[in-house]
């Protein structure tokens, strides 16, 4: 694992940081791309709308606000030199169309469920289906003391899968004990049997629905 230039401790530390980062990323699907584009579009609308409103109310001078919306100087320039403006408009339109389609496709694409590839057996390729592996882990986790229901799924890219586990805790569960049991009894076994040396895990805790005791016995 270690190279001559790095000492074992630094390698271990950077591994730990990477694992922690991947575990945090597995908590939920990332919305960073969608958020930044929505903020960008919204910001452009906000700035443009504010500037036009100020111009319209004469903040930049009443002479300016009295000018026609389609400025004759700009129209004359467009009419005198139509070719470059047409090309710019076509290229801009194509870019907008491609950007829009790519963005829409990215944001409606379902989250990836990576299959696991086992390499332990020579000359044989063994692939474990993502759902099968996750369901096995989920069933084991549901059997822990203090856990009412559990669900697991694999997330992330195929070369670096991570696990997302949702635990619905019973009313009297001790959170620390449940987490320790999950680590020792479920995750340790999963890492070993799935041949994953490192498996970042994001655990989401929920409360199991409580059925209220009958008011009349």
């Amino acid at each position: 694992m270690t190279t001559p230039t790095t000492t074992p401790t630094t390698t271990a530390r950077s591994n730990t940081t990477g694992l922690r980062r991947r575990a945090r990323a597995a908590v939920a699907r990332s919305a960073a791309g969608d958020r930044s584009l929505v903020v960008l579009v919204g910001g452009l609308l906000l700035v443009a709308g504010t500037l036009v409103a100020l111009l319209s109310y004469g903040v930049f001078g009443t002479g300016r606000s009295a000018r026609p919306l389609l400025d004759p100087i700009i129209l004359d320039t467009l009419r005198a030199q139509p070719l470059p403006f047409r090309l710019v408009a076509i290229v801009g339109g194509l870019l907008l169309a491609v950007l829009g389609v790519v963005w829409a496709a990215r944001s409606v694409r379902p989250e990836s469920r990576p299959d696991l590839h086992l390499t332990g057996v020579p000359d044989t390729r063994i692939v474990i289906d993502s759902t099968a592996a996750a369901d096995a882990i989920g069933r084991q986790a549901a059997g822990l003391a203090g856990v009412g229901r559990a669900r697991a799924r694999l997330v992330g890219p195929e070369h670096a899968p991570a696990l997302r586990v949702t635990l619905w805790l019973a009313d009297d569960a001790d959170v620390g004990a449940v987490l320790a049991a999950l680590d020792e009894q479920v995750l340790a076994g999963a890492r070993e049997s799935l041949e994953l040396g490192e498996l970042p895990v994001a655990v989401r805790l929920e409360l199991d629905a409580v059925t209220p005791p009958p008011r009349v016995a």
């Binding site: 922690r20 903020v39 194509l94 963005w103």
Partner: protein, 182 residues
């Protein structure tokens, strides 16, 4: 907010793509049919020559311009807010191992606190709001106020001792004494 973002984001993307396609169609269409007389000329899909005539009669302070600008600015502000507020609201907890991240939602924390507080004998009703920084409890009970407050605070603190939260939220409790026969 995350749900709003999930719906809104592909819609905006498709609107942008449609605008781009229409722009290309109209520019190419106008380029290929330059000889039509002005009165006959019309867009391929969008009737933009009519719009051009209408816009040509407007100045920057004509009637619909400021209203449209303000509406655009407000829509933009809402989009910015949706984008900024669509954060993860998860509350972090200490995991047993660095490779394990444990989170829960503010709703779950509030439910845990609520169950703990309502389990007390002297509390008749309680409502709880929780975030990663702050838990506020409003409780009603039979005991007199200082005693009730002390018992509620003790119960919440006891619960927080048991939960391995990354940062311990501050607890604020307001209580009211319930009058009348028990």
């Amino acid at each position: 907010m995350r749900a709003v973002l999930r719906v809104l984001s592909p819609l905006i993307a498709l609107a942008l793509a449609a605008a781009g396609v229409l722009l290309v169609i109209e520019v190419v269409g106008a380029w290929l049919r330059p000889s039509l007389p002005a009165g006959v000329a019309d867009g391929v899909v969008v009737p933009w020559p009519a719009w051009q005539v209408w816009l040509g009669g407007l100045t920057w302070r004509s009637e619909p311009v400021p209203v449209v600008a303000i509406v655009a600015a407000v829509v933009g502000l809402l989009l910015v807010l949706v984008g900024l507020l669509a954060r993860r609201s998860a509350i972090g907890m200490e995991g047993p191992d660095p490779a394990i991240t444990v989170t829960t939602s503010p709703r779950v924390l509030a439910q845990l606190v609520g169950r703990r507080v309502r389990a007390a004998e002297d509390v008749t009703s309680a409502s709880v709001t929780a975030s990663a920084r702050r838990i506020s409890v409003t409780a009603q009970g039979w005991a007199d106020e200082p005693q009730l407050r002390a018992s509620v605070v003790a119960r919440v603190e006891e619960l927080l001792d048991q939960l391995p939260l990354h940062r311990r939220p501050t607890v604020s409790v307001s209580v009211s004494e319930r009058k009348g026969p028990r």
